[in-house]
Amino acid sequence: MKNRLLSSTLLWAIIAFLILAAMPGLIASQMVLDLIIHVAIFGLFAISVNLLIGYTGLISFGHAMFYASGAYAFGLLMQTGTWSVPAALALAVLSSALLALVVGLVCTKTKEIYFTFLTLAIQMMFYSTILSWETFTGGDQGLTGGFKKPVFLGIDLANANHLYYFIAGVVIVSLGLLWHITKSPFGYALRMVRDNAARVEFLGMNVRGYRIAAFVIAAAFASVAGALMSLYVSAAYPNFGYWTMSGEAIFMIMLGGVNTFLGPLVGATMLTLLNHYVTAHTKYYGLVLGTIILLYVLLLRKGLLDIIVERFIAFRADRTLPKKQIESRLP
């Protein structure tokens, strides 16, 4: 069973990488490649948030904090000029995970709405720290000035193609790891914490421990996304850690689907494309996005991939199964 899961994941990862790798050859447009990179990074970010929201039932509204911490840590380490890219990436993720451990210890003391507030509030505190600590973070200008990207293992990130392959590769590896986490006994324990925390307590498992673990893991992958964005644009900006970034991630999850692993990636694709077209035509992006969100909430209320998967399962189940059983078969 375990080996089958591993080999199928590897197979999908290789297929995904080959498809992405073929893109620069097939598409000459730099703009489309740029969009693909954005979708990949935002998709990784949204899926990491969904580990909390969809799998553990913890509604965090402050996850952008770790996206920003990853981006800033990576950018600052690269600016010193003494670290190689993989080392800086690893350190950025490690430091963000440590930060998440501290924040998670405080936040998981609370439940539901209080948890959401607290993550939101701590994120705002982090954001205002970024703004006010100018000597270290560049304040509201962000971490500009760029940085050198030393060659490692024959990969030269100054080359746009190499950069594209590297980011695609790291995103796919991260998604593979996340997929395994959701399929592991630990992942199922998280679902159980979401569905019935009291039962988990009675089974003698430590609910808070699982919540903290989920929080730290989700933050670590969010910081990978942030560090990749920082690498891609050679800078880090304070709005990486602004609350709207967290809000957009939540909307991506809802658009694509909460109940499917790749749902948030679908949502990220939709939102990134929307973003791209709307900002080209108007400066009132919020008005358009807000209206779309309101329409979604009033009319649709389900993620696209969720709907497709549900239909598919219902279709396969010959439509004779009661609704309950169909729901229980959802991934």
């Binding site: 609370t110 209080y114 006010s132 709207t244 809802m254 009132y284 969100i293 309101l294």
Partner: protein
Amino acid sequence: MDITALSACVSSASCLMTQGLNAFVIGMLLFLVASGLTLIFGVLKVVNFTHGSLYMLGAYLAYYIYKITDSYLLAVIVASAGIAVFGIFLERLFFRRLYQSNFLMQLLMCYGWILVLDDLVQLLFGAEFQSMGMPPFFATAPLIIAGAPIPLFYIFLIAISFLVALAVWLLIVKTSFGSKVRAAATNTSMTGALGINTALLYAGVFALGAGLAGLAGALAAPVRSLVPGMGFSILIESFIVTVIGGMGSIGGALVAAILIGVCRSFGSVGFPMFTEIGVFALMAVVLLLRPDGLFGKGVQR
């Protein structure tokens, strides 16, 4: 960190007066916003993330009315009433559909509204800071109390806020509407089963909460600069107030708002760099000691 400045301030009457009054101005405005938030949560069991935006709308509406009529009194009345009406519209058309659905949907809807309202204000009034200026009635020489110059408007603002707080408290404790509100806060389905018109009650409570936010905006307009997005910081602060005071407790909101006012006002003297952090630290300490807030009873959703 400048502890000496802080101790010097506390030992001098004039500085104590100035900062103390400042604390009350910050605290009372915050209380008006947070009390609406906590009322709505207590009865409707929804978290109104648009509350900060309602405050912003109140401020801009007051600014607009004042500009065309030159009457601050009218501006305050129109802003409070107008935002209350807008609150009814929000509740009937949007929140009502989401009472049964999960918190995530409510959060998402509020996020949508925040984006829309911030952009609408930007569309109508521009993205730059606006200031309303002091109404002529209050533009007199400041009163000297205990050697500290006190603007007349501050005294007016604090007095009005206290009167409103008292009125809200009387409304909740002494009237039949208030007893329905308290009943609904305790057990919503039972309230409906007893034949009380909950739809009307919900709309009323939402209008009251929104009106309080609008009033706070109108009162803040002469002393704060207006900018799209100004609602979000006060939203976070109101959350902190409700978290410290306890969700659904009006008295708790009052105590917590003044606590935060004191923290901000004296913090700006003692450790100007870390006032933000001081407020958050206050919240973190309260949450760790009393997860339901100072006056909160365990919330059952």
